[in-house]
Symmetry: C2
Subunit: 204 residues, 2 copies
Amino acid sequence: MKGNLFIISSPAGGGKTTITNLLLEELPFLKRVVTYTTRKKRKNEIDGVDYVFLKKEEFENLISQDAFLEYALVHGNYYGTPKKEVFQLLEKGFDIILVIDVQGMKQIKQIYPAVITVFILPPSIDDLINRMRLRGESEEEIQKRLDTAKKEIPYWKEYDYIVINDNLLEAKDKIKSVILAERCKSSKFDINIIKDEKLKSLMV
Amino acid sequence: MKGNLFIISSPAGGGKTTITNLLLEELPFLKRVVTYTTRKKRKNEIDGVDYVFLKKEEFENLISQDAFLEYALVHGNYYGTPKKEVFQLLEKGFDIILVIDVQGMKQIKQIYPAVITVFILPPSIDDLINRMRLRGESEEEIQKRLDTAKKEIPYWKEYDYIVINDNLLEAKDKIKSVILAERCKSSKFDINIIKDEKLKSLMV
């Protein structure tokens, strides 16, 4: 594939969505593939933009067609990344950024080992709780997400890169560096971008 | 080692020295170790800053003491990177950037496989020649360096990262991204920077 596939994971409230949106604004070659889900649409969310919202039967129909790069049942709702959109964009040379959880990362790594994975850590557990409260989540919801976070954080070692989000813009810039650096990997270098034939003949 | 060791190589006139100086200004954690050489000091060069200028006997004495991470005889002059300075700074957590040629890169990679290597390519061979002329080098000198460049460019594949210097500041920013991204590698992550004990206990 010409482009790179990036996965961004973090506990709920860790900042993955905000950072990803900033990166998508700044990097024209970076694209997002909208996740399919069966969870209820929150106010301010737009169908087809934040998620593609599907009925359970529709989602399970797509599972049976092997249409997902990864999918999961989280807190009773399905979430899935459509395969076709990802591979089409990578083939065109775009980089793709996926915001998914640890289980999704593992599934994708098996199908597509070249994936580049980034885990965003909060500076502290209390900070994580505060951010969820600021987002207006119920205490019950917070407790549920915190339990998930505690199960996910130990998997940080399986990720390629770790970024602590104690400052949103600094954390964003670090992940931006990761994306830019990965584009400079010699293993990804496309010799056809060299216009000078003299130079090119030395490189093949 | 706590810090990362970077090698920057490019054909003469490729921009490695200018870019490295810009990076050293911008990144406070990045240090350079001054190369030892027996070549004649050029006007504007300062002993101990641009190079440590030594007599041939002095240099060969250091070789016999195994004091170099790498050294080479290029166009009749010795160039070498002192081992002690590099390892002391890496141990303190600084990143080190070394401007050396392909042969030096190979030597260091054998001694220190964790080294991260960047090759800067010119946009064209003519561009390379022009830059050497602008630098005031004689046609004979240019031809000699061009022959070396033609021998070195085929080794680009052995480097971790490739950056084309068709725009100095953009090339510098790409290498800056590489340096920043490598600091985010989970394999380099120092859990002791986490202050929150609750979070830390989930990470070990």
